[in-house]
Every structure is written in C-alpha cells, then in structure tokens.
C-alpha cells in the first residue's frame, strides 16, 4: 500500500516537473521559401498565410499544390525549403475545388514523397480546433481524421492549436513517432511560433 502511495506521489510530482509535449523546446528550424498547402481544402492555411504576410516570410500559398510544383521550382533553381500542410477537411472546400478526400490523400502522398526526395522539412499543421476534427463533423464523416493520418505521422514537426488536441491525438502521434509537437493556445500566438520557426 505504501508502495502505491509513493508511485502516485512520484507521478504527481513528475507531472509538475517534466514538461508536457506542448511545452517542449522548439528545436526544429525551418527555411524559406515555404510552400503552404492543405490536405482537405479547409480554410486553415489562410490563417498561417495572414501571419506569413505580416512576418515577410517568403511563401507560396497553393491549396492544391502538387509534387509537380515542387519539381518545377527545383528546376528553376529556386527550390522550396519547407512544406507546411494544414490538415482538417472541409466538404464545402472540397466541393468547391471539385476534389474528393481520396484525391486529397493521393495528392498529399505524392507531395510528401517529392519533398522527402528534395530533403525538405515537412510540417503537419492543424489550426482550427475540434471544429475541424471528426467530433465537429457530420456523423460518419471521417475526412478530418484521414487528412491528419495522411500528413502528421510523416512530418518533421507538428504545429497544432491546443484545443484541437483535446483528445490527445496529436500528442499520441508526437510521442509514438518521436515528432516534435509545437502547440499554441490563442490564434495570435501563431505569429510568434512561426517567427521562431523561421528565425535564423
């Protein structure tokens, strides 16, 4: 019994002393220019675009970026140095772009493969909270989770608004795949997060 008490006490103390995944020091650094895209055609990338503009970060915003776009830039002699893919699906967005979630998963798979070939850093992002998760979607619509599965486990860094990790899904991917996880609580904090990531 005494032993159990000690274990509980140690666990509680460890909870205070050891930093949670979200507070891990941001060690990954990213280079410009950046290709900013989506997996699921949600408006999430727009939020990052706003801060890129304010921070004068060299970026291209293309919600339907393909592996061909990465190759073309490389041929021009101006290759992208990092790739941010914002996960979370919008049926409205996919409908407007006339693509299905299967098309999105296929495009993203090829995009990540080309990025890997070019030695680029890949960031899997989720910036719209639980509303852009299966819990906030039509019953039976799992497209948000499919887009997360397609991108996040293959990323070099996860960038997540904290309320989207309510069920610890991103924490689990981070821990399981040993991928650094950077979280932020308020939208406006994203500015500092991006500044730190792209700061030399």
């Amino acid at each position: 019994m005494k032993c159990i008490s000690w274990i509980i006490t140690l666990a509680v103390v460890a909870g205070f002393v050891l930093p949670p995944a979200s507070a891990q020091k941001q060690t990954v650094k990213l280079d410009q220019p950046v290709l900013l895209t989506s997996c699921g055609q949600s408006p999430g990338p727009l939020k990052i675009k706003v801060f890129f503009g304010r921070l004068n970060i060299d970026y291209v915003y293309n919600l339907q970026a393909s592996a061909g776009d990465l190759s073309a830039k490389k041929k021009e002699g101006k290759p992208f140095k990092s790739l941010i893919i914002v996960t979370g699906a919008s049926l409205k967005g996919m409908g407007a772009s006339k693509v299905s979630i299967e098309d999105e998963l296929d495009r993203t798979k090829k995009l990540i493969a080309e990025a890997r070939k070019q030695g680029m850093k890949v960031v899997g992002a989720h910036v719209e909270g639980m509303e852009r998760r299966a819990q906030g979607a039509t019953p039976g619509d799992n497209s948000d989770e499919l887009s997360i599965d397609a991108v996040c486990p293959q990323s070099d860094l996860l960038l997540v608004r904290k309320d989207g990790d309510e069920d610890k899904r991103f924490t689990a991917i981070s821990t399981g795949k040993k991928i650094p996880l950077v979280t932020f609580e308020k939208n406006m904090e994203l500015s500092d997060v991006l500044k730190n990531l792209y700061q030399k």
């Binding site: 408006p43 939020k47 409908g95 407007a96 509303e131 906030g136 979607a137 039509t138 019953p139 406006m188």
Partner: protein, 386 residues
C-alpha cells in the same frame, strides 16, 4: 332539418375561425416596428432610389445611412434577409438606433426582404411576433419567415432555375432572397429586390457587405463567417481575433464558387465589394426542437435539441443554458465592429470606426433591450417605422 342545422353550425364556426385568423394575419402583416434614429443616422432613403421598379412593393425598404465625421470606406449591413433569424435584424437595429460613425460610412438595412417579415412559416404555427423587454416596457418585432410572403410573389415555379447560372434549386427558394442574388430587373419580386440592392452596392461604392444570419445547430455552416475569395484574409483575421479576444468561437468557411444565388458568392462576383456572411446559432430553427414558442426563440433553450447534441447530431454545442438572443446578437455586433477594425488595419487610408454600439460582453451583461430606444421619447422626425 337536423343536418341543415349542423351544416349551418360548422359554417358559422368556419367563418369565426376565418375572421379571427384573418385579423391576426392582418395585424401581423401591418405591425409597425419603430426605429428611433441614432444621432449618427445622416440620411434615410428607400431602396427604390436605386431601382424604381421596386417602388410601391412590399420590398421598398428603408436604407439608413450613417455618414462618418471623417471620410473612409463604406460598409453595408444587411439585416432581415431571413427575418425568422431575428439576431440579424436586431443587431442591425442596434447600429441604426445607437451607432455613430467616427470614420467611414455605414449603410444599414433592417428588413432586406421586407415581404418575408410579414408572414411566418405557412402551416408552421409560428408565433407572429416577439417582444424584447426594455427599461421603457419593450418593443414588438414581427417574427417573419425565410421566404417572401406568397401574397407578394405567387405562384411558385415547379423548379426554381437561378438566374443567370441556370442552377436548379428548390421551388420555394424562388422567394428566398439569399438564393436570388444577383437578381434581375425583369424577374420576380425577390429577384428584383436582390437586383436593387446590387445597384445600391455598386452606386454607393460599398467596400464590404455583411449579410447577417442564424442557423440551426444541425447545419454544418454555423458560428462562422462565410467569405468570398476577395474577403478571405479579412475574414481570417476577424475570425481569429474574435475567437481569441471575445470569448466565443467564430469559424471560417470559403464561399463555394459553384453554389449560386447566395450573397457571399454573387455580391463578390458582381460588384467590387467584399461579401461576407455571418452565422449565429438559433435552436428555434432545428427540426428536432420542441414547442415553437417565443420563449424558445428568445432563450434558445430546448431539451430536444440538447438531446440531439448528446447523440452527436449537432455542429454546435448546446446545454441547458441554450442560446439566448442576447448572446446571438452580441456575436453579430462584435463581428461587425471587428470587421471594421481589421479592415482599418489593412486600409488605414480608408478607415472604418463606429462608436456607441455594444459588443458581445456588454450586450450579454445589459441585454438588447437596454440599447433599444423608446419611440415615445424620440426627437420629432427621428422615429420611423419598418
């Protein structure tokens, strides 16, 4: 003989019902809603100024102009596109009765589809009107419907073919203002109304149009801004700022390019204006609601909608506290004021700044009624009727 007496009895009962209900419909259609003009209202016009064909129809509504003390951009608020979503009309009302533009110009519409304010859901047993309590007693507003009154536009087609896209829509939507943009001069009353507003938007060189709505919790486009491509960055900043600073979540959705007739699509396509549409949650509209009463409308409380939420059938949270009208109106006033602030950040040379209109927290704390002005004490010539 007995049969004749019975027939006579039924006939008299039918006549009584006809007279009583007819009187109720007449009163509802002709109820006058006072608007006590804010000192900031510099001009009131009629929609027919921009398209004379609409003159004398139910939809020749008032246009309230608040000219700023300093020049700037022009923003237009459309309240009452769907009058049965009352937070939109009431939020616009707070601007017309309180707003003072310090910079830029504001155009406010309280009854964009005025015809739709004069009828409720046919066969739906909706309450005809509702009262917002205020320190001076309270003000009665018509509840209205989603569609123009059939008395003003009839008959409906079997299929509504949207002009000019040719997209097929439900027959009822031929009377839905938010399926009739950009409208046409020789169309139905609702199409003519959309056309008249578009003429106004173009002639007044409106920079941003905000169409105010409410949505059922079972509809995925809720608690959000729907934006045309031209307004994406503005809407993203507004969405993020409101979510961070005002204590309520405001999402963001793109206006689909291939879904026609809606303000967020067609106003942006057919004019230079940025078109945005704001949605607030209204459990009154949910198909699984309980009794359709004014109490349910104003408190947003409904045990059946709560139960639907427990089964994971909703796109917005709800609990026993419901979605009171003050919360829904406060979301809209804050979202409009934040749009002005975010616009000004990007266009400091053409600013927008409105004073004296309460934001979300203040509307909830004091209630809408606190900001409705007493028509009995309105200055001469400064009380109009919708």
């Amino acid at each position: 003989m007995k049969a004749s007496i019975r027939k006579l009895g039924f006939s008299i009962a039918g006549l009584v019902l006809l007279v009583v209900s007819g009187l109720s419909f007449y009163e509802s259609r002709h109820l006058k809603e006072p608007v006590v003009l804010s000192d900031g209202v510099t001009q009131v016009m009629k929609l027919s100024k921009y398209f004379p064909d609409i003159e004398g129809t139910a939809n020749d509504c008032n246009i309230y102009v608040l000219e700023g003390k300093e020049p700037g951009a022009t923003l237009c608020i459309l309240g009452g596109t769907h009058p049965e979503e009352p937070a939109g009309r009431l939020a616009a009302w707070l601007f017309a009765e309180n707003g003072v533009m310090m910079k830029g110009r504001l155009i406010v519409v309280l009854s964009a589809n005025r015809s739709a304010t004069t009828v409720t859901r046919v066969g739906g047993a909706y309450p005809p009107d509702f009262i917002i309590p205020s320190p001076w007693g309270g003000q009665t507003f018509r509840l209205g419907d989603r569609w123009s009154n059939p008395l003003d536009q009839w008959p409906d087609p079997e299929v509504y073919i949207h002009y000019p896209s040719g997209q097929y829509l439900a027959y009822l939507d031929s009377r839905n203002l938010n399926r009739c943009w950009p409208g046409r001069p020789n169309g139905t009353l609702t199409e003519k109304t959309a056309y008249a507003f578009l003429e106004m938007i173009k002639k007044e060189k409106v920079d941003v149009v905000i169409d105010l709505h409410e949505a059922e919790l079972q509809y995925p486009v809720i608690s959000t801004i729907v934006t045309h491509e031209k307004g994406q960055e503005l809407a993203a900043v507004v969405s993020m700022t409101l979510t961070d600073l005002e204590g309520f979540k405001m999402g963001l959705e793109f206006s689909p390019k291939n879904l026609h007739g809606l303000s967020h699509r067609e106003i942006g396509d057919y004019s230079d204006a940025i078109s945005l549409l704001f949605e607030a949650p209204e459990p009154f509209l949910d198909a699984t609601r309980g009794k359709t009463t004014t109490d349910q409308l104003l408190t947003g409380k409904d045990e059946f909608v709560v139960k639907a939420g427990k089964h994971g059938l909703l796109f917005e949270k709800i609990d026993e506290k419901g979605w009171p009208i003050d919360v829904r109106v406060g979301r809209h006033t804050s979202a409009i004021l934040q749009t002005m602030a975010s616009w000004t950040e990007v266009h400091p040379e053409r600013p927008l700044l409105c004073d004296n209109v309460p934001r979300y927290a203040e509307v909830i704390e004091k209630g809408i009624g606190k900001f409705l002005q007493d028509p009995a004490h309105g200055k001469p010539g400064r009380v109009l009727f919708e």
